[in-house]
């Protein structure tokens, strides 16, 4: 769901024209310190994974939404996130081959392409994003937070790896709120089933003091991340909360929540963003800083990974910036007030799992989108519907219509896929997006002469 080893999130683009507004783009060497830090963190994590077997460290495969990284870390284990490997494969142009490999094994064209990409990668030697072979899992930690494909995915991995599965069942937020019973149900599972099973694999007891320490580090990072999200209230927004946002969620949605590294990363990122606000700067794009902010958008649905920069440029070249996105909340929804809490370790972990965006009902998703449209004063909202996702694409048109009705802001709809390049029709998507943006511009003028 987030990024690990992206070569350069802000690759150098063509120099801006000199003259008016003529600050030239800083040379590529002037990379943000937070980017360098994230890159280093990721490299070190994969090195640790590479050494895991020789060092006798246990490896847990798990999912981004509802991950229990602080527990994994407190038990001295290392997490691997197959979703992230899949999206990385998409960005590195490996996913088409992996998907073909999975289809050869009999998986149909309509199966979630993250799953097929992951299975294909496994069958092709399980070489991870940094080019080293990933260790096999000692445990599949399946926290179920709304995506029913997760269960089938780990069922398939269990057949491949012959290792145990620890399942955490997180009740769906059908009524749009978390009841005390729901929280207790998750806490009971953690205490009675999941943690004991993890302890058995790790070969040691969970140190609750260590867990609390990690949860406090999480809270600090979460505070800073929320400040980053909320910076998009400014005009121009100093961040792109979707394309840029997927880089920002990198550490906290993957192996680093609850670490000193992550806390330092988010503090640094927040300072950089605040400095951009102070300088009145817009967000970075693949072609350098965005010079003008013409459209402020809210986006629902993940980005396409196989053509990530092409997709991003379709927005940035039209001077469209995404001020908020729900995709960057799938691994944790912090800007509605939730924080991990060292004083209430299991309770707050339960609330975290229950509150992931993937676990929200359709009306709750609409409420959240409405809140984003209003808070960030968006000109429009856009849904990127994922072809192979049968879980979250359902109901998106209802969301679109309802949001239009509630906010009076126009909605747009495009379709692509996570990591199957066959479903990215560049000309079609670009055509729709340009039409959508031109529609917003025309509506701004209200009517023609």
């Amino acid at each position: 769901m987030s990024l690990q080893t992206v070569k350069n999130p802000h690759p150098p683009g063509p120099p801006l024209p000199k003259g008016e507004g003529g600050a030239r783009r800083p040379p590529p060497a002037a990379k943000d310190a937070s980017q360098e830090r994230q890159k280093r963190m990721i490299a070190e994590h994969f090195q640790r994974l590479e050494r895991a077997r020789e060092e006798g460290r246990k490896v847990v495969y798990t999912f981004v939404p509802g991950n229990l990284t602080e527990i994994v870390g407190a038990l001295g284990m290392l997490p691997v996130l197959p979703e992230i490997n899949a999206l990385q494969s998409g960005m590195r142009k490996k996913s088409a081959g992996y998907i073909a490999e999975a289809e050869k094994a009999g998986h149909s064209e309509d199966v979630c392409t993250y799953v097929k990409c992951d299975l294909g990668m496994l069958r092709s030697g399980n070489v991870g994003p940094t080019g080293t072979r990933l260790p096999e899992p000692d445990l599949l930690l399946l926290s179920y937070t709304g995506c029913f494909t997760f269960m089938k995915w780990f069922e398939l991995l269990r057949q491949e790896y012959h290792c145990p599965v620890a399942m955490l069942h997180v009740p769906y937020q059908a009524e749009g709120k978390i009841s005390p019973e729901m929280r207790q149900y998750v806490v009971d599972q953690l205490r009675d089933k999941v943690i004991p099973m993890m302890e058995g694999i790790a070969g040691r007891k969970l140190d609750l003091g260590e867990l609390s320490r990690r949860l406090e580090l999480s809270r600090r990072a979460e505070d800073d991340l929320v400040a980053v999200w909320e910076s998009a209230r400014h005009r121009p927004s100093p961040i792109d909360g979707y394309f840029g946002g997927v880089y920002y969620i990198g550490p906290i949605f993957s192996a680093f929540r609850g670490t000193e590294d992550a806390a330092a990363y988010y503090r640094e990122l927040r300072q950089e963003v605040e400095a951009r606000v102070a300088r009145g700067e817009g967000p970075m794009t693949p072609d350098g800083p965005l010079a003008e902010e013409r459209f402020r958008l809210v986006v629902e649905g993940p980005p396409n990974w196989t053509h990530f920069n092409d997709f991003w440029r379709m927005f940035s070249r039209e001077s469209a910036v995404v001020v908020a996105s729900t995709y960057t909340r799938v691994g944790g929804l912090y800007d509605t007030g939730f924080r991990h809490d060292g004083e209430r370790p299991l309770e707050s972990l339960a609330e975290y799992c229950l509150g992931c965006y993937t676990n929200l009902s359709l009306p709750a998703r609409i409420d959240l989108l409405q809140r984003y449209v209003e808070t960030y004063q968006a000109d429009g909202f856009l849904i990127n519907s994922v072809k192979s996702c049968n879980s979250f694409s359902a109901g998106q048109l209802i969301m679109l219509r309802e949001l239009e009705k509630r906010t009076g802001v126009a909605g747009g709809f495009i379709e692509s896929d996570l990591v199957d390049p066959r479903y990215f029709g560049k000309a079609n998507i670009e055509n729709r997006l340009q039409s959508f943006l031109q529609m917003l511009a025309a509506r701004r003028e209200r009517s023609y002469a």
Partner: protein, 450 residues
């Protein structure tokens, strides 16, 4: 004359519309998009300019008594001259192909056959452009192709000329001819047309009087047509030689154009060659929501084109034939290629062509209904545009489906010139630009080789 220009570069045809200051259409042009969008845009615009000059001509000959007859005669003669120029170009192209060294062994068999075919086409040309000529297409490719095919069949049957090789020459040559702009100016062609009209009229005919004609022709060709602003749209719009500000999405242009034609319109369905668009507009013609087909273009114009090819029919023949259906065969395949297979299978089972065609028409309109529903449905006046709305069966089925799904209250509009809706919308945007004092820089169009 001052005007603005809208160009819609579709996947199948390219259209141009010229609007005057009052928003009145003064000229329209259409051509097939070929493999060269630049040439297609230039040809469509040139045709629209010629149409605008014919509008001027009509004004100039008003009061000459048989004014309308004279305009018609000149127009027919003009089209004929244009066609003959292109035929001559085709002949040059084919002879050049024959002159290639690798054709040496076939030259003696092919050269006389081709010469006879093209001579026949030239001889028959005046009939094509006479008032009752009944041309089935306005595109040189189609007209010349039909004439060439007829000639090729004749010489093959009579003299045993190698039919495939004869046709292959045409297929090769036409690509070059249609992607080359003809060098003749409007003035040249009109003068030649006037000479042709004079030659065919009796000497006592006032309107065909040499002096009158010369005056009219000079007047019309001398009047400057000032193109103040251009806006481009359509599938190939990015390839048009327009600055970015002068490019508009076809969604906006179709919505705007349809609303201009029918101001009560709130929903527009446009079915073109490869796109189906369902568009909602507000009272000012501004798009509020839209849906488009994605990943699959079954159900668009090309689907009908494919079916026509399968049946060996012309595209324009499909609708009328389907109207004769006694029942509607259910066609299940949503894939164009599979629908073709289903068509052959059903024919083999003895079902009538008409009944199957009715089913195919219903299948494509059902796909449009789904897009319409997803765009927000129908609640008011509804306008159907694009090449497919020329098909009478498509409009009939659409009407039935609209009534079934949305009741009898929805007014459905179609316009005889609806194929120009996108170009019209583009021209309206160009007019806005002029009014707002930001005329687009004039683009550089492809030019004829000297």
């Amino acid at each position: 004359m001052r005007c603005v220009v809208g160009i819609d570069l579709g996947s199948t045809t390219t259209k141009a519309v010229l609007l005057d200051d009052d928003g009145k259409v003064v000229g329209r042009g259409i051509t097939n998009s070929r493999s060269d969008y630049g040439v297609a845009a230039a040809v469509a615009r040139e045709e629209a300019l010629r149409a605008a000059r014919f509008a001027l001509l009509e004004r100039a000959v008003e009061g000459l008594g048989e004014a309308s007859t004279l305009t018609d005669l000149l127009r027919e003669a003009f089209l004929l001259e244009t066609y003959l120029d292109q035929l001559a170009e085709l002949r040059r192209e084919i002879l050049a192909l024959l002159a290639a060294p690798w054709m040496a062994q076939h030259r003696s068999a092919l050269a006389p056959a081709v010469t006879e075919i093209l001579d026949r086409a030239e001889d028959q040309a005046p009939g094509l452009f006479a008032a009752a000529g009944g041309r089935r297409s306005d595109f040189f490719r189609d007209l010349a192709g039909a004439a060439y095919m007829a000639g090729a069949e004749l010489v093959a049957e009579r003299d045993g000329a190698p039919f495939d090789r004869v046709l292959a020459l045409y297929d090769r040559a036409i690509l070059n001819v249609e992607t080359r702009l003809m060098p003749h100016t409007f003035a040249d062609l009109l003068r030649r047309a006037a000479a042709r009209v004079r030659a065919t009229r009796s000497s006592g005919d006032a309107a065909a009087d040499v002096v009158v004609l010369r005056r009219v022709v000079d007047e019309v060709t001398a009047e400057p047509i000032e193109e103040l602003s251009f806006v481009g749209t359509g599938y190939g719009r990015q390839t048009l030689p327009f600055p970015k500000e002068a490019i508009r999405s076809e969604i906006l242009c179709h919505g705007r154009g349809a609303h201009w034609l029918f101001p009560g319109t709130r929903t527009v369905l446009d079915i073109g060659g490869q796109d189906t668009k369902a568009i909602q507009v507000d009272g000012g013609g501004v798009v509020t929501s839209f849906q488009m087909n994605d990943r699959c273009a079954a159900g668009c114009g090309r689907y009908l084109g494919y079916i026509a090819d399968e049946l060996g029919l012309g595209l324009h023949e499909l609708g009328p034939l389907a109207l004769e259906a006694r029942k509607t065969v259910r066609v299940n395949s949503t894939c164009t290629v599979f629908a073709g297979a289903e068509l052959r299978e059903r024919l083999a089972l003895g079902q009538s062509r008409e009944d199957i065609l009715a089913g195919l028409h219903r299948a494509i309109m059902l796909r449009s209904m789904s897009l319409l529903a997803r765009s927000g449905g129908l609640s008011n006046e509804f306008t159907f545009t694009g090449g497919v709305c020329k098909n009478p069966m498509a409009t009939k089925v659409l009407g039935e489906l609209v009534r079934e799904n949305y009741g009898d209250e929805i007014a459905i509009n179609t316009h005889p010139d609806s194929i120009y809706t996108g170009a019209l919308g583009a021209a309206l945007f160009a007019r806005d630009d002029v009014r707002a004092g930001k005329p687009s820089g004039l683009p550089t169009f492809a030019e004829a080789a000297a």
